[in-house]
Symmetry: D2
Subunit: 276 residues, 4 copies
């Protein structure tokens, strides 16, 4: 991200969230606080779970496993078929589980024998893969985003998404509700909302929001205007094609054509050419 900012690179592809472990806070916090970058594209990469061990460990040696609880849940069938007696311990993330095995970190009964983590972790932590593709959720996925320096967003696609960060004005109780209503009143659906601390004390958050549609869409534009007015600050993170290609479900009155017709009508009222 620094290389993109300095101009040394034109873009960077970074992980933003994961259906197993949630947001990648390091990326998110950089997007929220660092010098402005925007998302030009999103990419979904399936997560392949693997059983990773230190060189020399065999399946028979594996008495303890460490992993993130969601990964454990998604590998339950494989575990019960192949390692029914193994104890599973929980780590904060699959990456930290791999690191714990790589470092031979001790659990309650000696060093952990194996980690369940993404395939990619084997290389990074110099571990061996005893088994791969052991998860049973074909939808486990990591969402990467391609970041670029600020510029005009790509043209609206049949299926676009818009990302932004809303900093609430003060921490009054209904602030989040107020933000959500700005979207709901314009018929804009949210696909994700994540709170992050602003750093100025517990209970002070900003909200990272992804919504359906493109900043050039009338309904999205008006929702952004509304946010800008009621929030202390709004940071735009880009409009880009949806990786899953799913077009938004528009409720009545929210298409660009309907916005344009209503704007014509309002102009005529203001001019005194009153029409029904």
């Amino acid at each position: 991200m620094a290389a993109v900012r300095s101009g040394d690179a034109d873009g960077a592809v970074v992980p933003l969230e994961n259906s197993v472990e949630g947001s990648v806070n390091a990326t998110l916090d950089e997007l929220i606080r660092g010098e402005q970058l925007i998302i030009a594209r999103e990419i979904l990469i399936p997560v392949e779970f693997a059983l990773l061990v230190r060189r020399g460990t065999t399946l028979e040696d594996v008495a303890t496993i460490v992993t993130h609880p969601v990964a454990e849940a998604q590998c339950r069938a494989w575990l019960s078929d192949n390692l029914p007696k193994t104890e599973v311990y929980r780590a904060a993330s699959t990456a930290s589980a791999a690191a714990m095995v790589a470092n031979a970190q001790h659990g309650p009964d000696g060093p952990y024998d194996a980690a369940i983590a993404a395939n990619l972790a084997a290389d990074h932590y110099r571990l061996e893969t005893l088994a791969s593709g052991i998860g049973d959720d074909p939808d486990a996925v990591t969402r990467f985003v391609q970041l670029t320096r600020p510029g005009a967003p790509p043209a609206p696609d049949r299926a676009s998404k818009t990302s932004l960060v809303a900093f609430i004005r003060d921490d009054h109780p209904g602030a989040l509700l107020e933000i959500l209503e700005q979207f709901a009143t314009r018929g804009v659906n949210l696909t994700r909302i994540e709170s992050r601390p602003t750093g100025s004390g517990l209970g002070r958050y900003c909200f990272a929001v992804d919504c359906e549609g493109h900043v050039n869409d009338a309904r999205v534009g008006e929702a952004l205007l509304g946010l800008r007015r009621v929030c202390a600050d709004v940071r735009f993170l880009g409009s880009y094609p949806r990786a899953d290609g799913r077009a938004p479900t528009l409720s009545y009155g929210t298409s660009n054509a309907e916005f344009a017709a209503a704007a014509d009508w309002l102009a005529s009222l203001r001019d005194g050419q009153i029409v029904r």
Copy 2:
């Protein structure tokens, strides 16, 4: 109103509502259904209650009174001081009460002796005024509006009001809530809402709404746009100075300047000149 429509008159002053008896439905239904007219001005006229009788009746003769229940309530002190033993019967309106006395209509115990009605009713129904100014609510008032043919609304005043009729798209349960949210999201306060049947069956209503602000105000314009998009139809009834001169209470983010700043920001996002 017909004379204004035909061009025989430039304007008409008609009663629209009354703090005692509510909406004047005849006026409201004409505004809703007749050929379009708009409100150029509102005028508040205090309601003076009087005790009206047929010629020759004296205060001592008054054993029964007929009036609207609100008028009765507002004249209770005078009645208890001056006619403590008189029976009071209820009519649908103060005007119909006056008509009942004029026609010597019979109640349970013979013809009604007196009506409590507005001063003006004496002339209209050829009745005599036994006492006037007998109400104890100095705020009792009738709101008249001056109607003109469609044209550009008068320039925004420090304190303006806007009137319209919203025809809901279909009678789904949340339709009224949806209308109110269009105003609330833009910080536009309603001063009045009245449901009227559309004539197409029980449970089918349109809503006559008065709100604070002028159609040229950004927040009012955007609320109108929202209504136009989500409603089957919206009829604009005018923007005009408030008779009581009370300026609107604006919540943060709803002034014209804040709307304009947000619009500039949105334009810059769309152009790729990303700024926080």
Copy 3:
């Protein structure tokens, strides 16, 4: 209504609203302000429009007609077939139109020749019926209610309705929205809402509300509790079977069984028997 209150009658059947002309304010205001009565039943009576004249007038004589604008709209086909050249003038109600013809009241060109009103008006105003059944809306209907002295409401029916009046706490802008949200949060659909002045100045209203369901239903009970807490006052007007027999559409989580299951769950949390 007075006879019911005094005990001289067990019940009274009174008109409450009309799909053509809206609320019958006299009834509504009595229910709102008079000594408490409750609705035990509702009855829908079709409105049959008729052309009413003074004795001796023939169809050929009818050059001017007076009626309410909705009635005119609903008789347009008959008028265009049978009286294509007749001028139609507007009255505040069909009843007042009939009265105007009975009294030979003058319009712009002499006394009105005929009124369009309900069949029943002929007798009341001693008019003759030149034609009946001249409306083309088979759904035109008047809703009557049977009123009784307060008592336990009839048992919940497959399709019940509940009526009440909500007096808002003060006239803050979002008061009506707040009332509607009390219903929406519990999944209770409104079938009607009507504002009436409280009599204490313009801009001060109470709201007469009809909703789906019975006061004994958990979702209706909780909505009433919510209203009672946020309003200055709530007057209950009864729970009674719906005349149209239409059962409510319940969204998820709003049935009595779901309310009871949730209450059991809450009790277990409070007792420390925590269960998911």
Copy 4:
């Protein structure tokens, strides 16, 4: 947490969130997915930032620092006074920054010289503290919670908090809005909301919520009932005293007394003892 569940320990004190880096997802995910535990108490511990180095490094040697961006921001004054020429690189967390220094991990220009992290990290990563108390935000704080096996919650305190996890029924666009409205309608303020993936695909979240008040409070109980009805599942995480002792701001109609009065009124309606 495992020791508490097995009965080997009576309680566990674990970090839940941090005003600098946000939620401790490992704790949160265990609370969401593991066998049920409840929060009996919360404890706030100030975060003291320190400059940590490998043994032997002096302040003059420090050319590169690695830390979390919020920590960097909070130490900006100290850095500009003491190390104005040092490059600061960003890590995903202060703990991982400390680990990177301990492991002499390479950045763009060789191994990082120092980390800014919490004081406590020095011991854990066997680093030396060159300077401590270098942050300028006295409100930087970590929130720990004391967990116990399920049981009746402690008695309501003047200032209580309630924590829960809401699993939305399906991923319809307005699901989060619906959850927030369940709280808002009962006047219950949220102090925190955090989304976590359910593990069943991108875009599928549950929401960890902290609100003001105790499960025994009527308004909190009714909000929980509402959540339970509209959500697929709700997991209760406890009611406990607020560490900051701040009593909730109650809006009208939300005290226990007002709930009780409304319940009495509803009971009387159902019994037919109708009162205003």
